[in-house]
């Protein structure tokens, strides 16, 4: 345990899968050569195979006794490569009327080969049969775990966890690109930069935090999905959602790393029975599926959410629903409420 811990709560009932968080991170942190395929933040449609492909089956983390578990090192294709497009053909070779723009796999060595996979490739699939089909969106970033498997796996002590806020960082000067961290991370949120021969991942926008500004993915989220703050700050949304109301729970707690991104699990519309009647008894998203993601705590979390939402419907006051509605946007990430547009900045280097 570090002295303090910053944490996130992502409300899956509000995430609309727009990937604004993903793009805000991309433009801020991963637009350099060697980072083309990196998405430190990614939103996946669930049920789905995730990014990288089949990440939940890739191992890593710790078992119940705290012993390290072997993991798989994903390929660039598993993550979804940064595709090329045939811009030259369409825009500059006079084929504007005959050729259409399409992606090409960069590993096809110039051949006009369509990619087989990409980030959130199974975006439009979901699960279930009409009229009971279902899906929800699951954003993931580095979980800045209390017991990071990446940190434990690194033979060079290149990964550290900051005492003052629990941010997990890779020291790019110490990293030798061995990638044991990528194997060991059970959430598969570490990427290898082949141009610089180092591993890289979400840094929780620490440079913004030091100026009092919330992480880009938090601040840019148009759906007011992301709450952010100190886990021990009893006035924060984080404390109330995780500790007081216990509705925000970790993803795959069985991975044993004690992640610090918490999720408000998804409620779904009721099922229709075989007669087309509304079936309130059986949830549309199978509970077994949700338990496979969030563990047994998901039952109590969903029960609390339903109860409090019902109170609100009846005109009663519910602190929980008020927090989740997020009437006042800045309250979601106290004390990191500075507007980056109003900060004084050093003059750009000439």
């Amino acid at each position: 345990m570090t002295e303090r811990q910053l944490a996130f709560v992502f409300d899956l009932n509000k995430c609309l899968g727009c990937q604004t968080c993903t793009i805000s991170c991309k433009t801020l942190w991963t637009d350099q050569p060697g980072m083309e395929y990196m998405w430190w933040n990614i939103v996946n449609t669930m049920p789905g195979r995730g990014t990288p492909r089949d990440r939940d089956q890739m191992g890593g983390g710790f078992d119940a006794e705290g012993r390290a578990q072997a993991g798989v090192l994903p390929s660039a294709k598993d993550f979804g490569e940064a595709w090329d497009f045939n811009y030259d053909e369409v825009f500059y070779e006079g084929k504007g009327q005959s050729a259409h723009l399409h992606p090409r796999s960069p590993s096809a060595n110039g051949k006009d080969e369509a990619p087989e996979w990409g980030p959130n490739w199974d975006e439009d699939q979901g699960a279930g049969d009409y009229p009971n089909s279902y899906y929800f969106y699951l954003p993931t970033i580095c979980m800045h775990c209390t017991d990071p498997a990446c940190l434990a796996a690194c033979p060079r002590q290149a990964i550290s966890k900051r005492e003052e806020d629990g941010i997990v960082l890779i020291d790019e000067d110490r990293c030798d690109g061995y990638r044991f961290c990528m194997e060991a991370c059970p959430y598969k949120r570490i990427y290898f930069n082949p141009d610089r021969f180092i591993s890289q991942k979400c840094v929780m926008c620490f440079a913004r935090l030091e100026q009092g500004v919330a992480p880009a993915c938090v601040r840019q989220c148009p759906g007011r999905v992301r709450h952010f703050g100190y886990l021990d700050d009893e006035e924060s949304d984080i404390f109330k959602l995780v500790k007081t109301w216990k509705v925000a729970i970790p993803l795959h707690p069985e991975f044993g790393t004690q992640p610090n991104v918490y999720y408000v699990p998804p409620l779904a519309p009721p099922r229709f029975d075989e007669n087309g009647e509304i079936d309130e008894e059986n949830p549309r998203i199978p509970m077994d599926y949700l338990r496979s993601l969030f563990g047994p705590a998901v039952d109590q979390s969903l029960a609390t959410l339903k109860l409090e939402m019902e109170k609100t419907r009846q005109g009663e006051k519910s602190e929980l629903t008020d927090i989740l509605i997020a009437y006042k946007w800045q309250n979601m990430f106290i004390p990191f409420v500075e507007d980056p547009g109003e900060l004084s900045r050093p003059a750009p280097k000439s």
């Binding site: 390929s75 660039a76 590993s107 033979p155 060079r156 061995y178 021969f197």
Partner: protein, 216 residues
Amino acid sequence: MRVGRVDTRDEELLSPESTAWQEAAVNEVVLSPTPLELQPTDYIRVSRNGRPYGAVSSMRVSALHNGDSVFFHLVWQDDSEDRAIKDINQFVDGAAVMFPIVEDAPLIGMGIQGKPVNVWMWRADWERPKNVAAEGMGTTQRRDDPALSSAVRHADGNWDLIVGRSLEERDAPPGTIALAPGAASKIGFAVWQGSEQERAGLKAFSPAWQDLELDA
């Protein structure tokens, strides 16, 4: 291991076909996997348990100097030639020679605090070898060293590598072994097979120091 003295220019000694190498004594160096239980993290020990590494079992080594520079000619079998990272889950081939900076620096673990070792490390995707100082596992400091040079070819399922360094000590990175005509030291060897995802301590190595004597 004797380092014979020849009157041959550096450029020629950097060619595996040079007659100087054809006439040089060949030493058969036995290699074995680094011990699993000595790997530095629990993750590495668990993940490579039952997944063998360090399969290269021997290496042919010749050594020559010309009064100005010393060269080691290493030949070992590796059917797959891994020169470049084509995907993020791939690793490249490598090899290294290691010297103790103080006489009783341990080979296993690459030295220990206060008893450093010096490594000249070649990796198939590097333009030139790097000069590595270490005082135990996880402490390596790699430095560019213009005095280091190498030449390599991969033929008939073998890597054929020459790695050498000027005997000049001026401007040497900190922690560089001082070798001179007539001097004695010790040497160790290591090989990484990229195709087996070998990196860091996952490698084949010569488990004990060998004596090294430079002809006067």
